[in-house]
Amino acid sequence: MAAKGKTLASDSAASGKKSLSRSQKAGLQFPIGRIARFLRNRKYAQHIGTEATVFLAAVLEYLATEVLEIAGNVARDNKRLRIIPRHIQLTVRHDEELNTLLDDVTICSSGVIPKNHNNLLRIQNVC
């Protein structure tokens, strides 16, 4: 039975073990093999370590989890069952660190954070 993973079908048949993908071995959802291929083909360095691809996949998955979790909460707060670009914008701009990371990024069709400048508000007489 051919299965996903680097090991050959003959190896799995001989050993009796089902071959696992590298993502399954590391307990990740993001594709370690694809990320390894991207790193090798785009000439970032002459050699790429195997642990480097696992580490990078884990970091990317953590960041995706972080954004999707908060965006899902924002969607639920707005009584929506689907994340739209506005929810991602509110997620990113309200979180200090994500805002720093995506400071120079424009999110399409997302609007702005509601903010009124103090000088544009009515003068409040303080007794």
């Binding site: 590391a26 696992v54 990317l60 999707l68 639920r76 670009p85």
Partner: protein, 136 residues
């Protein structure tokens, strides 16, 4: 007679036009026939992170969906962070005169690129994944 005289120079041009058209049509026909005989060209597959982002979403919020534009935004976000981390790791390996990008370079790149607590959590997630991978 003038119109007849005028027609004469036109007719060779008119003859030329269909004559020119004929080889074109002639050239087209076998192509069309070949195109009809051949199956439609298989669409070139474009690789994205979309299915993996969807899997992560279902882990975090099983009942929440995501629009296609938002999925595009998330895909672009992942590609952008990948590029930033890979470029930084490449620069680190070059500065240290090492031809290899190891997990050490990626870890340092994460500490340089990601701000504050995000970097700490990302490094711990990466270390946990590497430990699980090597023990498996």
């Amino acid at each position: 007679m003038a119109p007849k005289a005028e027609k004469k120079p036109h007719t060779p041009a008119a003859e030329k036009a269909p004559a020119e058209k004929k080889p074109k049509a002639g050239k087209k026909l076998p192509k069309d026939a070949a195109g009809d005989k051949k199956k439609k060209r298989a669409k070139k597959s474009i690789e994205t992170y979309k299915i993996y982002i969807f899997k992560v979403l279902k882990q975090v919020h099983p009942d929440i969906g995501i629009s296609s534009k938002s999925m595009g935004i998330m895909n672009s976000f992942i590609n952008d962070i990948f590029e930033k981390l890979a470029q930084e790791a490449s620069r680190l390996s070059r500065i240290n005169k090492k031809p290899t990008i190891t997990s050490r370079e990626i870890q340092t790149a994460v500490r340089l690129v990601l701000p504050g607590e995000l970097a700490k959590h990302a490094v711990s997630e990466g270390t946990k994944a590497v430990t699980k991978f090597t023990s498996a």
